[in-house]
């Protein structure tokens, strides 16, 4: 039955403009994500098409398009070294969109443009699923729908097309909501993702060189959010533990040999404060999970390592929520002597001055605790400056930091301190993670950003086990007690969001974060687990895909019925005069004098009068009244009297 409606007709200018708008609406959000030359070429293609449409000139010939296609594909190949990765795929889709604009001649091509626009819109979500992205998506869907409608009905004015599209999308919204909530979610991926799928994710890495954390600190991106359930620890106690680095390899710190522990390598102390909270971790493409020191429960699909790190079984590539309990003090089991030996290793010929200082701390056979105290005294005695712009350092980072510049940030503090402790014969290691965070008073969640990244140390004391020592806090307490801004000398550039001025702006920001958090939790974080939780809360017992399918069908059916009823059963009642006139005609029809569809009131009356002389006066009067009401231009008050008369006469009309 499929016909090909209106395919043979070329696109009208209006349709061309709509398709161009569709292409632009789909491409614009992607423009910052594709290589600059491709963005420029695509914009050029759009402008070219617009100019051709404006001057009513013919489209470029096939050969030009073939050349441009080959050039762009070669460019993509050169840029990404492949045509099949995720980013290369997006770039190719953009190329197709640009070329299809220059090649669209018939409504069939128009359909291709619209479908391409849908795909482009989807690829935008690889990088960005924020609220603004949702808004641009709605705009793109609106334009694409209007373009589809213009392909069918080129004569509709633009505003009417837009209104039609808006109305239809509004009517589609309930279906979207039902499908979104009830469509059984599966945790992807269905198959392997391209290698470059997660290249855009940032976070702590598992090694540390001078500058690693510095780069991270300059980012305002959110690392994770925390909602405390009950008590909240003081901010200076908020150490969010991440990778533990034991091996110093030249200038680079790396994790030591560690094993996955079947259970937690420590046990909670009954009398230490406990905190329950939920972490929403942004994807960072690494397997570790962050928790307050020290987690005493394990999230599902996660394990603890022998150096007290929480690990997921797979790299975190989607936003992940997990509930945790932490206690600030825990009892350690006996530490493996290999671990302790590794925590004493130092490269032979590096940092000679620090090693010398460390050795000097051993004088007088002090206990390890006394050695630690002497080291801390040293740290306090020096005038260290916390700065994100430390001077360039050479091979002996610890030496230069401790004795030459005394300027640096947590990386330098912790690395130098560990070297010092090891030289003093106390096992020590670097712990990276995040410190502190910012409370959003609007929804009472804590936001931990990349700019909260931090590095501190742990030292092994025979009596106490691993003890956290934060040399940064010892030397520059403001960094931990307050925030980055307080720790830094005035005039140093700060990450934008770390600034304290503009109170109202801050207030606004808090609200925006709260909205974003809700968006992340309920829209973007709507995964199989969230779905199950929500449906259970809504009263569905043990939801599975069968039950969801049934509920989905039922609700979608209900909405469909309601919408169909609303759309189809809004027949107006004919106006009162019309109803009276039809009543009279029905009575005459029973006498065999049905009114013909083409017959006007006067003609009909004349015919009836000729056939039924007895009813002639009545029908003439009724017809005149009706015609006056329907087609006359009498004032409103006289219309009411005419209508009353008409009613009376029709009621009395018995032909």
């Amino acid at each position: 039955m499929a016909r090909k409606p209106e395919i043979l007709h070329p696109l009208t200018p209006a349709q061309t403009w709509w398709l161009l708008a569709t292409g632009i609406a789909a491409f614009a959000p992607l423009a910052p994500q594709v290589p600059w030359w491709l963005a420029a070429a695509t914009a050029g293609a759009f402008v070219w098409r617009a100019a051709l449409a404006w001057r009513r000139q013919p489209l470029p010939t096939r050969w030009v398009l073939v050349f441009v296609t080959i050039a762009c594909t070669a460019g993509v190949l050169f840029q990404y070294r492949t045509l099949f990765g995720q980013q290369a795929g997006v770039a190719l889709l953009v190329v197709f969109m640009a070329l299809k604009q220059l090649e669209a001649r018939a409504p069939r091509d128009g359909l291709a443009v619209v479908l391409l626009a849908y795909f482009l819109t989807l690829t935008q979500f690889f990088e960005n699923q924020s609220l603004p992205a949702a808004a641009t998506t709605l705009a793109a869907a609106l334009t694409a729908t209007a373009a589809l409608a213009s392909l069918v009905d080129a004569q509709l004015r633009p505003l009417r097309l837009l209104r039609l599209a808006a109305v239809m999308l509004a009517q589609a919204a309930p279906f979207m909501l039902i499908l979104f909530v009830l469509f059984p979610r599966v945790s992807g991926p269905l198959w392997g993702l391209p290698k470059d799928a997660h290249s855009s994710l940032t976070g702590l890495s598992d090694d540390m060189q001078p500058g690693t954390i510095n780069r991270l600190i300059r980012s305002d991106a959110i690392a994770f959010r925390v909602a405390f359930d009950g008590a909240v620890p003081p901010k200076r106690e908020m150490y969010w533990r991440g990778p533990v680095l034991t091996v110093l390899d030249g200038r680079t710190w790396r994790p030591g040999g560690k094993s996955a522990a079947a259970d937690l390598p420590y046990r909670p102390l009954a009398d230490s404060p406990a905190y329950a909270y939920t972490v929403t971790l942004e994807p960072h493409n690494k397997p570790w999970l962050f928790g307050l020191e020290f987690p005493v429960t394990l999230p599902p699909d996660a394990f603890a390592t022998s150096d007290f790190q929480l690990h997921a079984r797979k790299p975190v590539r989607e936003r992940r929520r997990y509930a945790l309990r932490s206690q600030t003090e825990v009892a350690y089991f006996k530490e493996n002597h290999h671990v302790l030996a590794a925590a004493l290793q130092l490269p032979d010929d590096l940092n000679p001055r620090t090693v010398l200082l460390g050795n000097s701390l051993r004088e007088g056979r002090p206990t390890d605790y006394q050695r630690l105290q002497r080291a801390l005294d040293f740290m306090r005695s020096q005038r260290f400056v916390y700065t994100l712009q430390p001077p360039l350092m050479g091979e002996h980072v610890a030496d230069e930091f401790l004795f030459d510049h005394q300027r640096g940030f947590c990386e330098h503090f912790s690395a130098a301190f560990v070297v010092l402790m090891r030289a003093a014969g106390v096992p020590a290691r670097v712990v990276t993670g995040y410190q502190g965070g910012e409370r959003n008073p609007v929804d009472d969640t804590w936001v931990i950003r990349q700019s909260d990244a931090h590095a501190w140390t742990e030292v092994w004391l025979e009596q106490s086990g691993w003890v956290r020592v934060d040399p940064t806090a010892v030397s520059v307490p403001a960094r931990i007690e307050q925030n980055l801004a307080a720790a830094m000398p005035a005039g140093e550039p700060l990450p934008w969001l770390a600034r304290a001025d503009f109170r109202w702006l801050r207030e606004l920001r808090y609200r925006w974060w709260a909205v974003n958090n809700a968006w992340n939790q309920w829209v973007l974080g709507y995964d199989p687990q969230r779905q199950r939780e929500l449906l259970e809360r809504l009263g569905m017992h043990a939801p599975d895909w069968r039950k969801m399918g049934i509920a989905l069908a039922a609700f979608a059916g209900l909405v469909l019925l309601a919408l169909a009823g609303w759309l189809l059963w809004r027949r107006p009642r004919p106006d009162p005069a019309e109803r009276q006139w039809r009543k009279a005609a029905r009575r005459l029809a029973r006498r065999g004098l049905a009114r013909h569809a083409w017959e006007g009131p006067q003609d009909y009356a004349a015919r009836v009068a000729a056939k039924l002389p007895a009813a002639a006066a009545d029908i003439r009067a009724i017809a005149a009244l009706y015609a006056g009401l329907r087609y006359g231009n009498a004032p409103a008050d006289s219309l009411a009297t005419s209508l009353a008369t008409l009613r009376r006469r029709v009621a009395a009309f018995r032909p």
């Binding site: 090909k4 359909l111 239809m168 999308l169 993702l193 027949r571």
Partner: protein, 334 residues
Amino acid sequence: MPLAPRRTFADRFAAWAMRMSGTRPPEPVPVTLGQRRIYVLPTRAGLLYSLSLVVLLIGAINYNLSLGYGLVFLLAGLGVVAILHTFRNLAGLSLTVGAPTPVFAGATARFPLFLHNPDPRERRRLRAFLPGQPATATSATMAADLPPQGSVRVLLPLPAPRRGWLAMPRVTLETVWPLGLVRAWGYAAPELACLVYPRPADAAPPAPSFGEVGGGSLAGDAGDEDFAGLRRHQPSDPPHHVAWKTAARMGAQAPLQTKQFAGTAAQALWLDWNHLPGMETEARLSTLARWVLDAEAAGLAWGLRLPGLELAQAHGPAHTHACLKALALHGEKT
């Protein structure tokens, strides 16, 4: 009347659909396309759209894009809404017919159809066509927009190969408005027939001039006693009948006029079936049709004699029509 040598699937479906909706052709007018007489299927564009949505959904699942789910579900909802809107564009439409203008065999008959919109909302891009007609010819010309509570006339072309009554086959009314993703259609079979005159013969033997006696050409045989008026000059008119004075007055641009005279000769003109012995029926009818047209063109009065039928001598469009109709229906059961 056989329409197509082979019943297509569409024909069979239409017949089944008409049966199911309880209407049997011919239907009384006005025909209203109730909701139970409207069928909806995706167009090819709609199928492509659905396929794209499936691919998009797989992408959203694979990359775990929540907004991707949102987009796909919104577009799926849009598809459902499009079904309702397309359906509504057709549902409740009513249809009446007009009188088709008779045509000669071999030409194309055009059936006038009136579409009425009883609702206070516009209906757009409605197409009506007859089975077997190329969709492009009809869809291009027959897409109609109906204002609220308005009417529109569409002409449905159908080739008329043979003389007689050409019944209008079932009409398909369809629309893909607003998005072109789904097609809603319905059938109506109001009674309507177009009269098809016999095709006038190209090379006809000369017509008889007087009564039973044959011979002579029609042209110039009009009487010349009483001046009756002027008409457009034809090349076969004798030069002495040209209204030279009028031509001189009007100037060179004006067409020549021929003086017409009502004469006794015309009163005796009979176009008789029996003047053409030995010809086949259709050829005879064709020839008679040509004579009728020639006689009318020449401004003559003529009578027509067919077996079992005699039309008195007269002239004018009504008489021409009556004669051609008699020829068209010769031997037909009506």
